[in-house]
Amino acid sequence: MSPALLELVLSSTLETLYMVAVAGLISAALGIPLGVALYTSRPGQILARPALNSVLSIITNIGRSVPFIILMVAIIPLTRLIAGSSIGTNAAIVPLTIASIPFVARLIEGALNEVGPGLVEAAQAMGATPMQIITKVLLPEARGGIINGLTITVVTLISYSAMAGTVGGGGLGDLGIRYGYNRFDPMVMLVTVVILVVMVQGFQSLGDHLVRKSNHK
């Protein structure tokens, strides 16, 4: 591989990491509260709001049902508004984030659902406010499940980011398609795939390690 190509591999790797990191952080920051809202607004829950719950649930389902490649094109006006352009790495981050917010939210909701109802009841008996129940009971008790959910999200983001090339976002997936697939360069194809596999393995191992560390069950 020529030094120029090598440099391209390196910058693509950084682009992928950049997209995944920014999209991951923002979607966690927005998806976790949405997941908490989805769970606590359920009928019979600590902040039961059945109507709000239905609305949130429908929006989340819509977000999750649109195929990523279609979503990316469909929200171009929004992307331009937020990122200032509809092409480039930053432009790719907008659809990546929007696609993973509902994904994160459902995973968080599922993780919270694993917390025993008796714990919430015990906290209520102690005179805890709903906010205290969320911050002192639900989130800490679901920590393992939450980390697990975020790991799954990061891995999904790595795979979604391969489609970022469609909007000129770059990244490893894009490199693999342009050089490896379109130009029949098996070496580039192999290298990008190997880097992606190593990246996914790394994030999964890190996630598993954090889950184990937080799990006292």
Partner: protein
Amino acid sequence: MITLKNVSKTYGSGDKAVVALKDASLTVPQGAITGVIGLSGAGKSTLIRCVNLLERPTAGSVVVDGQELTELDESALRSARHQIGMIFQHFNLLSSRTVFANVALPLELAGISKDEIKKRVEPLLELTGLSDKAGQYPAQLSGGQKQRVAIARALASRPKVLLCDEATSALDPQTTASILELLKDINTKLGLTILLITHEMEVVKSICDQVALISGGELVEVASVGDFFTAPQTRLGREFLNDFLELEPPRALVERLEATAGPHTHPVVRLAFSGDAVSTPLISRLARECQVDVSILQAKVESIQDRTLGLMIAELMGDSRQTQQALDYLESHDLKVEVLGHVTRTA
């Protein structure tokens, strides 16, 4: 300290309405331990959850420490709950927190400073025998230790009342005994009023002052533990007691029992002694005065609070006139006499 007045709880409405609690009234005096006993589904859990309004009663009044809870708004209710500790059958400890942090939780919720929390948690761990377990996580503890943590946690906010929801039902008999001892201990030391629900008579017998029997959502009998164990007033009360005392005649005897007396039979009687009758040498007097021989088939003595309860199954041996005289003699001495049947003389 706790007064429930005509408390009812109905789930659902219309045709699907399920009445879980009907017109329940109960008073737990300051410093007393009251046990609510009943079979599963009788409404015990609903009753105890109505005391701290984890279940909101459909009707009736709940007064704890002079405060009518059903009229409080959310925030006033939360502060009232600081005065009411609660422990549960399955402990409900936070697995992500150490023993120390679990006990500290109610104090954190109340916004108490870290230093003050440390000062208050440590004596509680000592009281419950957990000082060496402060840094461990609940998963590393046995059931009995977990319940001790739960008790320490319930006491952290210095409540006036402790509610125990089947607190020993998930524990083995030995651990149950040690937890009951701890409850009795804090009741005495801290003057804490305790309301507990259970399906085990043993729990009522060992620590309660007052017992309330619940069936089909209604409190059918409320009595002091001494009265209840010596003379239950309802059929259900007697059933509970007999199951608990397990004084049934031996199987071999039951097979020989006949319902009616014949010319060559002896009566078999079940005797229940309480009060003075326990300390009087009744059996030997009976033998002397009525000229009957008494063969004791089974007997046990139970101490309940300050009372003693004696139970005995015996065969009265003599002719029909002597045995009738013996039965009259026993009844005149305040004994509860029940003729179980008659056996044919073997000799």
